[in-house]
């Protein structure tokens, strides 16, 4: 059914030859930030360390939405330290939300692969080489980090949060059969043109946005690989997703259930 809706299968038609020299590949990391003054230097340091050790070509694009805590000032310092070819600042004036932050960042990305991750240290750059290896293994269109499989897991969650997370995941798997185990996570690697196509198609916001990306990906017959990740709850700063998280998640889930 999915293939009928998609009509053409964009991904399959242009298979790239296997074993291409990785010198031609470039990975653009998109880091959306809002009040991440403490976390930003640490995540950038970890990213630089990881990429210089593994030798992949990269750039880090920081999209700050006018954080009042001075994240932008720290970002400018980092640009000076690591050079403006590695650290690209693409700030916006005010808080316009995560989804549009990705679109904004992607416009300036020069890599052929895009890595999306949170700047709050929940997502550790050490998994990026594994993502890349996984992607090359079967020329996946998307590689998604998963907390729910293999050695994946979380740190700093109480029982209640675990139950909500597992329960929500179970219901989602039953209702949507998405073909990926972690739908609400946002640590992923995309081929650039795939992400572009997906973002065009997606209408929802917040948590649901990540979920919709995977659902649309399946509709368009994109292939998805998974890498288990450990998710360490943020140490510094505040969560931006408010108390009505569950309500908006359920709304989004039902919308996707009824429309896809």
């Amino acid at each position: 059914m999915a293939s009928m809706e998609a009509g053409v299968t964009p991904a399959k038609s242009r298979r790239e030859p296997e074993g291409r020299p990785s010198a031609r590949d470039k990975y653009s990391v998109l880091l959306p930030t809002y009040n991440e003054r403490e976390n930003l230097p640490l995540i950038v340091w970890l990213l630089v360390k990881c990429f210089s050790e593994s030798g992949f070509n990269y750039e880090i694009i920081i999209i700050d939405d006018g954080s009042p805590d001075g994240t932008r000032d720290v970002a400018e310092q980092l640009e000076k330290i690591y050079g403006s070819d590695k650290i690209l600042l693409r700030p916006r004036e005010k808080k316009l939300g995560l989804g549009t932050a990705y679109i904004h960042g992607m416009k300036h990305a020069t890599g052929n692969y895009i890595i999306i991750m949170d700047a709050d240290l929940s997502h550790h750059p050490k998994f990026i080489p594994e993502f890349i290896r996984k992607q090359k293994e079967s020329n996946f269109d998307i590689v998604s980090g998963t907390r729910y499989k293999g050695n994946g897991g979380v740190y700093g969650w109480d029982l209640k949060r675990k139950i909500i997370s597992r329960g929500a995941n179970f219901v989602t798997q039953i209702l949507l059969r998405p073909g990926a185990s972690d739908l609400t996570g946002s640590f992923r690697l995309y081929k650039k043109e795939v992400l572009q196509k997906l973002i065009e198609k997606c209408v929802s916001k917040g948590y649901v946005f990540q979920m919709e990306m995977i659902i649309r990906a399946r509709q368009l017959n994109y292939t998805i690989g998974e890498v288990p990740i450990s998710f360490v709850d943020r140490v510094y700063g505040e969560s931006k997703l408010g108390g009505n998280e569950i309500v908006s998640f359920l709304k989004g889930l039902l919308t996707l259930f009824a429309t896809t």
Binding site: P41, L121, G153, Y155, I163
Partner: protein, 92 residues
């Protein structure tokens, strides 16, 4: 077809098969012990599905990995990063 439509179709199909068999429509007269089992079947299935859901979620919550090592490693790397960044002249 949307996921919702798929569910509705499947439920309608199973539901009508069940209804046809229990009331004996279409001249399908099942022996009465069979009918006695069949009559409350949807309720049994519902309970079984509920148990399966609770069991699965419970098991997955209980076996959710706590990544103590990852948290510890991160803490150490944060110290290292702080020192190195300060050396490079970052004002936090």
């Amino acid at each position: 077809m949307t996921k919702l439509a798929q569910w509705l179709w499947a439920l309608a199909l199973l539901g009508s098969a069940w209804a046809a068999l229990t009331v004996g429509a279409l001249g399908l007269e099942l022996p009465s012990p069979c009918r006695e089992v069949l009559w409350p079947l949807p309720a049994y299935l519902l309970v079984a599905a509920g148990c399966y859901a609770l069991g699965t979620v419970g098991y997955r919550v209980a076996t959710f990995h706590d990544c103590e090592d990852a948290a510890l490693e991160l803490q150490n790397q944060i110290q290292e990063a702080r020192a190195d960044l300060a050396r490079r002249g970052l004002r936090f």
